[in-house]
Protein backbone atom coordinates (compact mmCIF):
# COMPACT_ATOMS: atom_id res chain seq x y z
CA UNK A 1 0.00 0.00 0.00
CA UNK A 2 1.24 3.46 -0.92
CA UNK A 3 1.41 5.20 2.47
CA UNK A 4 2.71 8.42 0.98
CA UNK A 5 -0.49 8.73 -1.04
CA UNK A 6 -2.65 8.00 1.99
CA UNK A 7 -0.93 10.74 4.00
CA UNK A 8 -1.26 13.12 1.05
CA UNK A 9 -4.95 12.28 0.70
CA UNK A 10 -5.54 12.75 4.45
CA UNK A 11 -3.86 16.17 4.33
CA UNK A 12 -5.93 17.21 1.33
CA UNK A 13 -9.12 16.11 3.18
CA UNK A 14 -8.00 18.22 6.14
CA UNK A 15 -7.55 21.26 3.87
CA UNK A 16 -11.05 20.70 2.44
CA UNK A 17 -12.55 20.44 5.94
CA UNK A 18 -10.76 23.67 6.92
CA UNK A 19 -12.15 25.31 3.77
CA UNK A 20 -15.62 24.07 4.69
CA UNK A 21 -15.32 25.73 8.10
CA UNK A 22 -14.63 29.05 6.31
CA UNK A 23 -17.71 28.62 4.06
CA UNK A 24 -19.91 27.62 7.02
CA UNK A 25 -18.59 30.54 9.09
CA UNK A 26 -19.41 32.91 6.23
CA UNK A 27 -23.11 31.92 6.32
CA UNK A 28 -23.66 34.42 9.11
CA UNK A 29 -21.29 37.01 7.65
CA UNK A 30 -23.08 37.29 4.28
CA UNK A 31 -26.47 37.95 5.87
CA UNK A 32 -27.49 41.34 4.40
CA UNK A 33 -27.53 43.99 7.13
CA UNK A 34 -27.19 43.13 10.82
CA UNK A 35 -27.58 39.35 11.41
CA UNK A 36 -28.80 40.01 14.97
CA UNK A 37 -31.55 42.32 13.66
CA UNK A 38 -32.47 39.76 11.00
CA UNK A 39 -32.80 37.01 13.62
CA UNK A 40 -34.86 39.07 16.08
CA UNK A 41 -37.04 40.76 13.47
CA UNK A 42 -37.76 44.42 12.68
CA UNK A 43 -39.69 45.11 15.91
CA UNK A 44 -36.97 44.02 18.37
CA UNK A 45 -35.61 46.78 20.59
CA UNK A 46 -32.01 47.96 20.26
CA UNK A 47 -30.96 46.46 23.60
CA UNK A 48 -32.05 42.98 22.57
CA UNK A 49 -30.24 43.35 19.23
CA UNK A 50 -27.07 44.54 20.98
CA UNK A 51 -27.34 41.61 23.41
CA UNK A 52 -27.58 39.10 20.57
CA UNK A 53 -24.69 40.76 18.73
CA UNK A 54 -22.62 40.31 21.88
CA UNK A 55 -23.75 36.67 22.28
CA UNK A 56 -22.90 35.84 18.67
CA UNK A 57 -19.58 37.66 18.99
CA UNK A 58 -20.42 39.93 16.05
CA UNK A 59 -18.79 42.97 17.68
CA UNK A 60 -15.33 41.50 17.33
CA UNK A 61 -13.09 41.64 14.19
CA UNK A 62 -14.04 38.95 11.67
CA UNK A 63 -10.72 37.04 11.89
CA UNK A 64 -10.99 36.93 15.67
CA UNK A 65 -14.59 35.69 15.38
CA UNK A 66 -13.53 32.91 13.01
CA UNK A 67 -10.53 31.80 15.09
CA UNK A 68 -12.49 31.68 18.34
CA UNK A 69 -15.35 29.80 16.58
CA UNK A 70 -12.82 27.34 15.13
CA UNK A 71 -11.12 26.90 18.50
CA UNK A 72 -14.52 26.14 20.08
CA UNK A 73 -15.22 23.62 17.32
CA UNK A 74 -12.04 21.70 18.13
CA UNK A 75 -13.46 21.27 21.65
CA UNK A 76 -16.72 19.97 20.19
CA UNK A 77 -18.50 23.22 21.07
CA UNK A 78 -20.87 24.22 18.25
CA UNK A 79 -22.43 27.07 20.24
CA UNK A 80 -25.99 27.43 21.49
CA UNK A 81 -29.23 27.28 19.56
CA UNK A 82 -30.74 30.76 19.26
CA UNK A 83 -34.24 29.37 19.56
CA UNK A 84 -33.98 26.87 22.41
CA UNK A 85 -30.76 28.19 24.03
CA UNK A 86 -29.64 24.55 24.24
CA UNK A 87 -26.20 23.37 23.18
CA UNK A 88 -26.10 22.58 19.43
CA UNK A 89 -23.69 19.62 19.70
CA UNK A 90 -26.04 17.17 21.52
CA UNK A 91 -28.80 17.98 19.05
CA UNK A 92 -26.45 17.17 16.16
CA UNK A 93 -25.20 13.91 17.63
CA UNK A 94 -28.79 12.78 18.16
CA UNK A 95 -29.59 13.35 14.49
CA UNK A 96 -26.53 11.72 12.91
CA UNK A 97 -27.80 8.19 13.61
CA UNK A 98 -31.18 8.49 11.85
CA UNK A 99 -29.62 10.34 8.88
CA UNK A 100 -26.87 7.74 8.56
CA UNK A 101 -29.41 4.90 8.74
CA UNK A 102 -31.51 6.48 6.00
CA UNK A 103 -28.51 7.27 3.77
CA UNK A 104 -27.18 3.72 4.13
CA UNK A 105 -30.58 2.13 3.52
CA UNK A 106 -31.09 4.35 0.44
CA UNK A 107 -27.67 3.40 -0.90
CA UNK A 108 -28.45 -0.30 -0.38
CA UNK A 109 -31.80 0.07 -2.18
CA UNK A 110 -30.03 1.92 -4.99
CA UNK A 111 -27.35 -0.76 -5.33
CA UNK A 112 -29.89 -3.60 -5.10
CA UNK A 113 -31.74 -2.12 -8.08
CA UNK A 114 -28.80 -0.75 -10.08
CA UNK A 115 -26.51 -3.81 -10.09
CA UNK A 116 -28.88 -6.41 -11.57
CA UNK A 117 -30.56 -3.95 -13.95
CA UNK A 118 -27.25 -2.42 -15.11
CA UNK A 119 -25.56 -5.80 -15.62
CA UNK A 120 -28.53 -7.38 -17.41
CA UNK A 121 -28.93 -4.43 -19.77
CA UNK A 122 -25.18 -4.51 -20.57
CA UNK A 123 -25.35 -8.25 -21.28
CA UNK A 124 -28.17 -7.73 -23.79
CA UNK A 125 -27.76 -4.26 -25.31
CA UNK A 126 -30.75 -3.21 -27.39
CA UNK A 127 -33.00 -5.85 -25.83
CA UNK A 128 -36.33 -5.21 -24.11
CA UNK A 129 -34.70 -5.17 -20.69
CA UNK A 130 -32.09 -2.67 -21.92
CA UNK A 131 -34.79 -0.31 -23.23
CA UNK A 132 -36.77 -0.72 -19.99
CA UNK A 133 -33.63 0.04 -17.98
CA UNK A 134 -32.97 3.17 -20.06
CA UNK A 135 -36.54 4.41 -19.53
CA UNK A 136 -36.31 3.62 -15.80
CA UNK A 137 -33.05 5.51 -15.41
CA UNK A 138 -34.33 8.53 -17.35
CA UNK A 139 -37.53 8.75 -15.30
CA UNK A 140 -35.68 8.07 -12.04
CA UNK A 141 -33.18 10.84 -12.63
CA UNK A 142 -35.93 13.33 -13.56
CA UNK A 143 -38.49 12.56 -10.88
CA UNK A 144 -38.73 15.04 -7.99
CA UNK A 145 -38.11 12.86 -4.94
CA UNK A 146 -40.51 14.88 -2.78
CA UNK A 147 -43.27 14.21 -5.32
CA UNK A 148 -42.46 10.52 -5.51
CA UNK A 149 -42.50 10.38 -1.70
CA UNK A 150 -45.97 11.92 -1.57
CA UNK A 151 -47.27 9.56 -4.28
CA UNK A 152 -45.86 6.52 -2.46
CA UNK A 153 -47.56 7.67 0.76
CA UNK A 154 -50.89 8.04 -1.10
CA UNK A 155 -50.56 4.55 -2.59
CA UNK A 156 -49.00 2.47 0.20
CA UNK A 157 -50.14 4.30 3.31
CA UNK A 158 -53.50 5.88 2.49
CA UNK A 159 -54.94 3.49 -0.12
CA UNK A 160 -53.54 0.13 1.01
CA UNK A 161 -52.58 0.94 4.64
CA UNK A 162 -49.48 -1.22 4.22
CA UNK A 163 -46.81 1.13 5.59
CA UNK A 164 -46.71 4.10 7.99
CA UNK A 165 -46.82 7.46 6.13
CA UNK A 166 -44.16 9.16 8.28
CA UNK A 167 -42.28 9.10 11.58
CA UNK A 168 -39.37 7.18 13.09
CA UNK A 169 -38.83 4.48 15.69
CA UNK A 170 -35.27 3.83 16.92
CA UNK A 171 -33.97 0.45 15.80
CA UNK A 172 -33.02 -0.37 19.38
CA UNK A 173 -36.61 0.07 20.57
CA UNK A 174 -38.53 -1.88 17.94
CA UNK A 175 -36.58 -3.20 14.91
CA UNK A 176 -39.74 -4.28 13.05
CA UNK A 177 -41.35 -0.86 13.42
CA UNK A 178 -38.07 0.83 12.46
CA UNK A 179 -38.01 -1.29 9.30
CA UNK A 180 -41.63 -0.47 8.47
CA UNK A 181 -40.88 3.24 8.81
CA UNK A 182 -37.68 3.25 6.74
CA UNK A 183 -39.02 1.38 3.67
CA UNK A 184 -40.77 4.29 1.94
CA UNK A 185 -38.11 6.99 2.59
CA UNK A 186 -35.24 4.64 1.67
CA UNK A 187 -37.02 3.56 -1.51
CA UNK A 188 -37.73 7.20 -2.46
CA UNK A 189 -34.11 8.32 -2.10
CA UNK A 190 -32.76 4.97 -3.37
CA UNK A 191 -34.63 5.00 -6.70
CA UNK A 192 -33.01 8.28 -7.74
CA UNK A 193 -29.53 6.94 -6.93
CA UNK A 194 -30.35 3.64 -8.63
CA UNK A 195 -31.33 5.37 -11.86
CA UNK A 196 -28.00 7.18 -12.11
CA UNK A 197 -25.91 4.18 -11.01
CA UNK A 198 -27.70 1.88 -13.47
CA UNK A 199 -26.42 3.96 -16.40
CA UNK A 200 -22.84 3.93 -15.17
CA UNK A 201 -22.83 0.23 -14.25
CA UNK A 202 -24.19 -0.59 -17.71
CA UNK A 203 -21.54 1.58 -19.35
CA UNK A 204 -18.68 0.15 -17.24
CA UNK A 205 -19.85 -3.42 -17.90
CA UNK A 206 -20.12 -2.79 -21.66
CA UNK A 207 -16.51 -1.62 -21.63
CA UNK A 208 -15.13 -4.67 -19.85
CA UNK A 209 -17.37 -7.20 -21.62
CA UNK A 210 -15.66 -6.36 -24.91
CA UNK A 211 -12.17 -6.71 -23.40
CA UNK A 212 -9.85 -9.48 -24.57
CA UNK A 213 -9.63 -11.22 -21.19
CA UNK A 214 -13.41 -11.66 -21.10
CA UNK A 215 -13.35 -13.24 -24.56
CA UNK A 216 -10.48 -15.46 -23.43
CA UNK A 217 -12.48 -16.51 -20.36
CA UNK A 218 -15.40 -17.44 -22.63
CA UNK A 219 -13.08 -19.26 -25.03
CA UNK A 220 -11.75 -21.32 -22.12
CA UNK A 221 -15.28 -22.58 -21.69
CA UNK A 222 -16.18 -20.73 -18.50
CA UNK A 223 -19.88 -20.40 -17.81
CA UNK A 224 -21.50 -17.01 -18.45
CA UNK A 225 -22.17 -16.53 -14.74
CA UNK A 226 -18.49 -16.97 -13.87
CA UNK A 227 -17.39 -14.75 -16.76
CA UNK A 228 -19.67 -11.95 -15.64
CA UNK A 229 -19.15 -12.18 -11.89
CA UNK A 230 -15.49 -13.20 -11.66
CA UNK A 231 -13.99 -11.45 -14.66
CA UNK A 232 -16.16 -8.62 -15.96
CA UNK A 233 -17.78 -7.28 -12.79
CA UNK A 234 -14.58 -7.40 -10.79
CA UNK A 235 -12.77 -5.29 -13.36
CA UNK A 236 -15.66 -2.88 -13.71
CA UNK A 237 -15.68 -2.27 -9.95
CA UNK A 238 -13.14 0.60 -10.05
CA UNK A 239 -15.45 2.67 -12.26
CA UNK A 240 -18.50 1.60 -10.29
CA UNK A 241 -16.98 2.51 -6.92
CA UNK A 242 -15.97 5.93 -8.31
CA UNK A 243 -19.55 6.53 -9.40
CA UNK A 244 -20.92 5.37 -6.05
CA UNK A 245 -18.54 7.83 -4.37
CA UNK A 246 -19.75 10.65 -6.60
CA UNK A 247 -23.33 9.60 -5.96
CA UNK A 248 -22.97 10.17 -2.25
CA UNK A 249 -23.27 13.95 -2.73
CA UNK A 250 -26.57 13.47 -4.57
CA UNK A 251 -27.64 10.89 -2.01
CA UNK A 252 -27.11 13.31 0.90
CA UNK A 253 -29.08 15.98 -1.00
CA UNK A 254 -31.85 13.43 -1.61
CA UNK A 255 -31.88 12.42 2.05
CA UNK A 256 -32.41 16.08 3.09
CA UNK A 257 -35.60 16.22 1.00
CA UNK A 258 -36.84 12.79 1.99
CA UNK A 259 -36.36 13.53 5.70
CA UNK A 260 -38.68 16.51 5.38
CA UNK A 261 -41.34 14.63 3.41
CA UNK A 262 -41.40 11.66 5.82
CA UNK A 263 -40.79 13.62 9.05
CA UNK A 264 -37.57 11.65 9.57
CA UNK A 265 -35.65 13.16 12.51
CA UNK A 266 -32.30 13.53 10.74
CA UNK A 267 -29.79 16.28 9.99
CA UNK A 268 -31.61 17.44 6.85
CA UNK A 269 -34.82 18.16 8.72
CA UNK A 270 -32.83 19.83 11.48
CA UNK A 271 -31.10 22.07 8.89
CA UNK A 272 -34.40 23.08 7.34
CA UNK A 273 -35.95 23.88 10.72
CA UNK A 274 -32.85 25.93 11.55
CA UNK A 275 -33.25 27.89 8.28
CA UNK A 276 -36.95 28.54 8.81
CA UNK A 277 -36.29 29.71 12.39
CA UNK A 278 -33.13 31.64 11.40
CA UNK A 279 -31.19 29.64 14.00
CA UNK A 280 -27.73 30.23 12.51
CA UNK A 281 -25.55 28.30 15.02
CA UNK A 282 -27.76 25.23 14.53
CA UNK A 283 -27.60 25.60 10.74
CA UNK A 284 -23.83 26.07 10.77
CA UNK A 285 -23.37 22.99 12.93
CA UNK A 286 -25.59 20.85 10.71
CA UNK A 287 -23.93 21.89 7.45
CA UNK A 288 -20.49 21.38 8.94
CA UNK A 289 -21.24 17.89 10.26
CA UNK A 290 -22.78 16.77 6.94
CA UNK A 291 -19.85 18.19 4.94
CA UNK A 292 -17.29 16.48 7.18
CA UNK A 293 -19.17 13.18 6.93
CA UNK A 294 -19.28 13.55 3.15
CA UNK A 295 -15.54 14.32 2.95
CA UNK A 296 -14.75 11.27 5.09
CA UNK A 297 -16.87 9.02 2.87
CA UNK A 298 -15.06 10.34 -0.22
CA UNK A 299 -11.74 9.67 1.47
CA UNK A 300 -12.80 6.09 2.22
CA UNK A 301 -13.87 5.59 -1.40
CA UNK A 302 -10.46 6.80 -2.60
CA UNK A 303 -8.68 4.44 -0.23
CA UNK A 304 -10.93 1.58 -1.31
CA UNK A 305 -9.26 1.71 -4.75
CA UNK A 306 -6.16 0.06 -3.25
CA UNK A 307 -8.22 -2.85 -2.02
CA UNK A 308 -10.08 -3.24 -5.30
CA UNK A 309 -7.08 -2.96 -7.57
CA UNK A 310 -3.65 -3.65 -6.03
CA UNK A 311 -2.00 -2.51 -9.28
CA UNK A 312 -2.94 1.10 -8.53
CA UNK A 313 0.08 3.21 -7.62
CA UNK A 314 -0.16 6.90 -6.93
CA UNK A 315 2.77 9.12 -7.71
Amino acid sequence: MNYQYIVQRLLSALVVVLGVTVVVFMIVQIVPGDPARVVLGPYANDEAVAGLRERLGLNRPIIEQYLSWLEALTRGDFGQSLLSSQEVAPQLWGRIGPSFELALASLLVGLAIAFPVGILSALKPGSGIDIAATIFSQIGVSIPSFWMGIMLVIIFSLNFSLLPPSGYTPITEDPADWFAHIILPAFTAGVVSASIMTRFIRSAMLDVLSANYVQTARAKGLGERAVVLRHALRNAMITIVTIIGLQINALFSGVVIVEVVFSWPGLGRLALNAVLERDYPLLQGTVLVVAVMFTMVNLLVDLLYFVLDPRIEYA
Binding site: S12, V15, V16, V17, G19, V20, V22, V23, V24, M26, I27, V28, I30, V31, P32, V38, Q138, I139, V141, S142, I143, P144, F146, W147, M148, I150, M151, V153, I154, L158, R202, S203, L206, N249, A250, F252, S253, V256, I257, V260, V261, G268, A271, L272, A274, V275, L276, R278, Y280, L283, T286, V287, V290, A291, F294, T295, N298
Partner: protein, 297 residues
Protein backbone atom coordinates in the same frame (compact mmCIF):
# COMPACT_ATOMS: atom_id res chain seq x y z
CA UNK B 1 -18.97 13.45 -61.82
CA UNK B 2 -15.89 15.12 -63.28
CA UNK B 3 -12.45 14.35 -61.90
CA UNK B 4 -12.18 17.86 -60.46
CA UNK B 5 -15.48 17.48 -58.62
CA UNK B 6 -14.49 14.06 -57.25
CA UNK B 7 -11.19 15.50 -56.05
CA UNK B 8 -13.00 18.43 -54.38
CA UNK B 9 -15.54 16.12 -52.74
CA UNK B 10 -12.77 13.83 -51.42
CA UNK B 11 -10.87 16.84 -50.12
CA UNK B 12 -14.02 17.92 -48.29
CA UNK B 13 -14.38 14.47 -46.77
CA UNK B 14 -10.77 14.38 -45.65
CA UNK B 15 -10.34 17.92 -44.46
CA UNK B 16 -13.91 18.60 -43.43
CA UNK B 17 -16.06 21.41 -44.75
CA UNK B 18 -16.39 24.55 -42.65
CA UNK B 19 -18.57 24.04 -39.57
CA UNK B 20 -18.82 20.33 -40.36
CA UNK B 21 -18.57 19.35 -36.69
CA UNK B 22 -21.62 21.41 -35.75
CA UNK B 23 -23.53 20.47 -38.90
CA UNK B 24 -22.85 16.76 -38.35
CA UNK B 25 -23.80 17.10 -34.70
CA UNK B 26 -27.05 18.81 -35.73
CA UNK B 27 -27.82 15.95 -38.12
CA UNK B 28 -27.10 13.35 -35.45
CA UNK B 29 -29.26 15.26 -32.97
CA UNK B 30 -32.19 15.36 -35.40
CA UNK B 31 -31.98 11.56 -35.73
CA UNK B 32 -31.91 11.07 -31.93
CA UNK B 33 -35.53 10.17 -31.10
CA UNK B 34 -35.38 10.75 -27.35
CA UNK B 35 -33.61 14.09 -27.82
CA UNK B 36 -36.29 15.19 -30.27
CA UNK B 37 -39.00 14.08 -27.82
CA UNK B 38 -37.26 16.14 -25.11
CA UNK B 39 -36.97 19.08 -27.51
CA UNK B 40 -40.72 18.97 -28.28
CA UNK B 41 -41.58 18.84 -24.56
CA UNK B 42 -39.32 21.85 -23.97
CA UNK B 43 -40.88 23.80 -26.85
CA UNK B 44 -44.27 23.39 -25.12
CA UNK B 45 -42.80 24.42 -21.74
CA UNK B 46 -41.05 27.45 -23.26
CA UNK B 47 -44.26 28.52 -25.03
CA UNK B 48 -46.05 28.23 -21.68
CA UNK B 49 -43.32 30.32 -20.08
CA UNK B 50 -43.33 33.01 -22.78
CA UNK B 51 -47.06 33.38 -23.36
CA UNK B 52 -48.13 32.30 -19.82
CA UNK B 53 -50.60 34.98 -18.71
CA UNK B 54 -52.05 35.35 -22.22
CA UNK B 55 -53.01 31.69 -22.65
CA UNK B 56 -54.24 30.66 -19.18
CA UNK B 57 -57.96 29.75 -19.24
CA UNK B 58 -58.49 31.38 -15.80
CA UNK B 59 -56.73 34.01 -13.70
CA UNK B 60 -53.97 31.91 -12.01
CA UNK B 61 -54.36 33.81 -8.73
CA UNK B 62 -58.15 34.30 -9.01
CA UNK B 63 -59.93 32.65 -6.06
CA UNK B 64 -63.32 30.96 -6.40
CA UNK B 65 -64.45 29.67 -3.01
CA UNK B 66 -67.55 28.03 -4.50
CA UNK B 67 -65.21 25.77 -6.48
CA UNK B 68 -62.69 24.73 -3.82
CA UNK B 69 -61.10 21.27 -4.29
CA UNK B 70 -62.98 20.68 -7.56
CA UNK B 71 -61.83 17.42 -9.17
CA UNK B 72 -60.41 17.46 -12.72
CA UNK B 73 -63.23 18.10 -15.20
CA UNK B 74 -63.85 19.71 -18.59
CA UNK B 75 -64.17 23.11 -16.90
CA UNK B 76 -60.98 22.66 -14.83
CA UNK B 77 -58.71 20.15 -16.61
CA UNK B 78 -56.49 19.65 -13.57
CA UNK B 79 -59.00 20.56 -10.89
CA UNK B 80 -58.82 23.44 -8.42
CA UNK B 81 -56.92 24.01 -5.17
CA UNK B 82 -57.94 24.99 -1.64
CA UNK B 83 -58.69 28.57 -2.78
CA UNK B 84 -60.60 27.42 -5.86
CA UNK B 85 -57.76 28.52 -8.16
CA UNK B 86 -57.44 26.68 -11.48
CA UNK B 87 -54.44 24.33 -11.24
CA UNK B 88 -53.91 24.14 -15.02
CA UNK B 89 -53.62 27.96 -15.22
CA UNK B 90 -51.20 27.99 -12.30
CA UNK B 91 -49.08 25.27 -13.91
CA UNK B 92 -48.85 27.31 -17.12
CA UNK B 93 -47.66 30.34 -15.16
CA UNK B 94 -45.37 28.17 -13.01
CA UNK B 95 -43.43 27.24 -16.16
CA UNK B 96 -42.20 30.84 -16.34
CA UNK B 97 -40.82 30.68 -12.79
CA UNK B 98 -39.08 27.34 -13.34
CA UNK B 99 -37.51 28.44 -16.62
CA UNK B 100 -36.48 31.82 -15.22
CA UNK B 101 -34.76 30.27 -12.21
CA UNK B 102 -33.18 27.53 -14.31
CA UNK B 103 -31.83 29.87 -16.98
CA UNK B 104 -30.49 32.53 -14.61
CA UNK B 105 -28.95 30.02 -12.18
CA UNK B 106 -27.27 28.00 -14.92
CA UNK B 107 -26.02 31.18 -16.61
CA UNK B 108 -24.38 32.24 -13.33
CA UNK B 109 -22.84 28.79 -12.91
CA UNK B 110 -21.71 28.59 -16.55
CA UNK B 111 -20.06 32.01 -16.69
CA UNK B 112 -18.31 31.83 -13.31
CA UNK B 113 -17.58 28.10 -13.39
CA UNK B 114 -16.24 28.04 -16.94
CA UNK B 115 -14.16 31.16 -16.33
CA UNK B 116 -12.61 29.67 -13.21
CA UNK B 117 -12.06 26.30 -14.93
CA UNK B 118 -10.32 27.96 -17.89
CA UNK B 119 -8.09 29.93 -15.52
CA UNK B 120 -7.28 26.82 -13.49
CA UNK B 121 -6.48 24.69 -16.52
CA UNK B 122 -4.53 27.32 -18.41
CA UNK B 123 -2.94 29.28 -15.57
CA UNK B 124 0.00 28.55 -13.32
CA UNK B 125 0.05 25.61 -10.94
CA UNK B 126 -0.60 27.88 -7.94
CA UNK B 127 -3.70 29.38 -9.60
CA UNK B 128 -4.89 25.89 -10.46
CA UNK B 129 -4.38 24.63 -6.90
CA UNK B 130 -6.13 27.59 -5.28
CA UNK B 131 -9.14 27.53 -7.61
CA UNK B 132 -9.62 23.76 -7.59
CA UNK B 133 -9.24 23.41 -3.81
CA UNK B 134 -11.91 26.12 -3.44
CA UNK B 135 -14.10 24.11 -5.84
CA UNK B 136 -13.43 20.95 -3.77
CA UNK B 137 -14.63 22.80 -0.68
CA UNK B 138 -17.87 23.90 -2.37
CA UNK B 139 -18.37 20.43 -3.80
CA UNK B 140 -17.92 18.79 -0.41
CA UNK B 141 -21.18 20.27 0.85
CA UNK B 142 -24.22 18.45 -0.56
CA UNK B 143 -25.69 20.69 -3.27
CA UNK B 144 -29.15 21.15 -1.84
CA UNK B 145 -27.88 21.73 1.69
CA UNK B 146 -25.50 24.41 0.40
CA UNK B 147 -28.32 26.05 -1.55
CA UNK B 148 -30.49 26.00 1.60
CA UNK B 149 -27.66 27.54 3.64
CA UNK B 150 -27.11 30.31 1.07
CA UNK B 151 -30.84 31.11 0.96
CA UNK B 152 -30.82 31.10 4.77
CA UNK B 153 -28.11 33.76 4.72
CA UNK B 154 -29.44 35.89 1.85
CA UNK B 155 -33.13 35.50 2.69
CA UNK B 156 -36.09 33.68 1.14
CA UNK B 157 -37.27 34.52 -2.36
CA UNK B 158 -36.88 33.66 -5.99
CA UNK B 159 -33.88 35.95 -6.67
CA UNK B 160 -31.82 34.50 -3.84
CA UNK B 161 -32.85 30.99 -4.88
CA UNK B 162 -31.42 31.70 -8.34
CA UNK B 163 -28.13 32.93 -6.85
CA UNK B 164 -27.93 29.95 -4.49
CA UNK B 165 -28.56 27.35 -7.19
CA UNK B 166 -26.10 29.10 -9.52
CA UNK B 167 -23.33 29.14 -6.90
CA UNK B 168 -23.86 25.47 -6.10
CA UNK B 169 -23.22 24.42 -9.72
CA UNK B 170 -20.05 26.49 -10.22
CA UNK B 171 -17.69 23.62 -9.24
CA UNK B 172 -19.20 21.27 -11.82
CA UNK B 173 -18.59 23.71 -14.69
CA UNK B 174 -15.14 24.58 -13.34
CA UNK B 175 -14.13 20.91 -13.28
CA UNK B 176 -15.43 20.23 -16.78
CA UNK B 177 -13.80 23.33 -18.28
CA UNK B 178 -10.48 22.63 -16.53
CA UNK B 179 -10.42 19.02 -17.69
CA UNK B 180 -11.15 20.09 -21.27
CA UNK B 181 -8.42 22.77 -21.17
CA UNK B 182 -5.84 20.33 -19.79
CA UNK B 183 -6.62 18.07 -22.74
CA UNK B 184 -5.75 20.74 -25.32
CA UNK B 185 -3.39 23.21 -23.66
CA UNK B 186 -0.31 21.64 -25.24
CA UNK B 187 -1.86 21.12 -28.69
CA UNK B 188 0.02 22.53 -31.65
CA UNK B 189 -2.56 25.20 -32.48
CA UNK B 190 -2.21 26.69 -28.99
CA UNK B 191 1.58 26.66 -29.19
CA UNK B 192 1.36 28.19 -32.67
CA UNK B 193 -0.95 30.97 -31.43
CA UNK B 194 1.47 31.71 -28.61
CA UNK B 195 4.42 31.71 -31.03
CA UNK B 196 2.54 34.24 -33.18
CA UNK B 197 2.43 36.56 -30.20
CA UNK B 198 -1.15 36.05 -29.01
CA UNK B 199 -1.70 36.99 -25.35
CA UNK B 200 -3.21 34.66 -22.74
CA UNK B 201 -6.63 36.31 -22.85
CA UNK B 202 -6.82 36.05 -26.62
CA UNK B 203 -5.69 32.42 -26.58
CA UNK B 204 -8.25 31.59 -23.90
CA UNK B 205 -11.18 33.29 -25.62
CA UNK B 206 -10.38 32.59 -29.27
CA UNK B 207 -8.62 29.25 -29.21
CA UNK B 208 -9.30 27.43 -25.95
CA UNK B 209 -12.95 28.33 -25.29
CA UNK B 210 -14.34 27.25 -28.69
CA UNK B 211 -12.60 23.91 -28.27
CA UNK B 212 -14.08 23.17 -24.85
CA UNK B 213 -17.63 24.26 -25.76
CA UNK B 214 -19.04 20.80 -26.51
CA UNK B 215 -18.87 19.37 -22.97
CA UNK B 216 -20.03 22.71 -21.55
CA UNK B 217 -23.10 22.86 -23.81
CA UNK B 218 -24.03 19.33 -22.74
CA UNK B 219 -23.55 20.24 -19.07
CA UNK B 220 -25.68 23.38 -19.47
CA UNK B 221 -28.61 21.27 -20.67
CA UNK B 222 -28.23 18.70 -17.91
CA UNK B 223 -27.73 21.41 -15.26
CA UNK B 224 -30.94 23.11 -16.34
CA UNK B 225 -32.72 19.89 -15.39
CA UNK B 226 -31.09 19.84 -11.96
CA UNK B 227 -31.67 23.59 -11.45
CA UNK B 228 -35.38 23.18 -12.07
CA UNK B 229 -35.47 20.29 -9.59
CA UNK B 230 -33.53 22.37 -7.06
CA UNK B 231 -35.87 25.36 -7.46
CA UNK B 232 -38.85 23.08 -6.99
CA UNK B 233 -37.25 21.65 -3.84
CA UNK B 234 -36.46 25.12 -2.41
CA UNK B 235 -39.99 26.32 -3.14
CA UNK B 236 -41.36 23.07 -1.68
CA UNK B 237 -39.51 23.96 1.55
CA UNK B 238 -40.93 27.51 1.43
CA UNK B 239 -37.55 29.09 0.63
CA UNK B 240 -38.01 29.88 -3.07
CA UNK B 241 -41.03 31.49 -4.74
CA UNK B 242 -43.30 33.18 -2.22
CA UNK B 243 -47.12 33.17 -2.27
CA UNK B 244 -49.33 33.95 -4.12
CA UNK B 245 -47.01 33.48 -7.16
CA UNK B 246 -47.33 29.97 -8.55
CA UNK B 247 -44.28 27.75 -8.66
CA UNK B 248 -44.48 24.02 -9.27
CA UNK B 249 -42.56 23.21 -6.10
CA UNK B 250 -44.71 25.52 -4.01
CA UNK B 251 -47.93 24.09 -5.53
CA UNK B 252 -46.68 20.62 -4.62
CA UNK B 253 -46.07 21.72 -1.03
CA UNK B 254 -49.57 23.21 -0.85
CA UNK B 255 -51.02 20.03 -2.35
CA UNK B 256 -49.21 17.94 0.25
CA UNK B 257 -51.41 19.36 3.01
CA UNK B 258 -54.53 18.17 1.19
CA UNK B 259 -53.45 14.95 -0.50
CA UNK B 260 -55.98 12.89 1.44
CA UNK B 261 -58.92 14.76 -0.07
CA UNK B 262 -57.55 16.06 -3.39
CA UNK B 263 -54.50 14.20 -4.65
CA UNK B 264 -54.54 16.13 -7.96
CA UNK B 265 -53.24 19.25 -6.21
CA UNK B 266 -49.87 17.52 -5.76
CA UNK B 267 -50.07 15.15 -8.73
CA UNK B 268 -50.15 17.62 -11.64
CA UNK B 269 -47.37 20.01 -10.49
CA UNK B 270 -45.16 16.97 -9.92
CA UNK B 271 -45.94 15.71 -13.40
CA UNK B 272 -45.04 19.12 -14.86
CA UNK B 273 -41.65 19.02 -13.08
CA UNK B 274 -41.05 15.43 -14.18
CA UNK B 275 -41.73 16.14 -17.87
CA UNK B 276 -39.69 19.35 -17.98
CA UNK B 277 -36.70 17.81 -16.24
CA UNK B 278 -36.99 14.73 -18.46
CA UNK B 279 -37.08 17.02 -21.52
CA UNK B 280 -33.80 18.65 -20.54
CA UNK B 281 -32.22 15.28 -19.68
CA UNK B 282 -33.25 13.72 -23.01
CA UNK B 283 -31.97 16.74 -24.93
CA UNK B 284 -28.74 16.77 -22.90
CA UNK B 285 -28.10 13.09 -23.55
CA UNK B 286 -28.87 13.58 -27.23
CA UNK B 287 -26.46 16.51 -27.44
CA UNK B 288 -23.75 14.45 -25.76
CA UNK B 289 -24.23 11.64 -28.28
CA UNK B 290 -24.35 14.13 -31.15
CA UNK B 291 -21.28 16.12 -30.15
CA UNK B 292 -19.19 13.11 -29.19
CA UNK B 293 -20.43 9.93 -30.87
CA UNK B 294 -17.69 7.91 -29.10
CA UNK B 295 -19.57 8.37 -25.83
CA UNK B 296 -22.80 6.89 -27.18
CA UNK B 297 -23.62 4.43 -24.42
Amino acid sequence: MTKAKVRKSRAHEELGAPNTLWRDAGRRLLRHRLAMFGFCVLVVVFLMGIFGPAITPYDPNGMDFANRFAAPSLAHWMGTDDFGRDIFSRIILGARVSLQVGLVAVSVATILGTGLGLLAGYGRRVTDEVIMRAMDVLYSIPALLLAIAIVAALGKGINNAMIAIGLVYIPIFARIARAAVLGIRNEEFIIAARALGAGDLRILTWHVLPNVLSPIIVEITLSLAFAILAEAALSFFGLGTQPPDPSWGRMLAEGRDFFRQSGWMAFFPGLAILFTVMGFNFLGDGLRDALDPRLRR
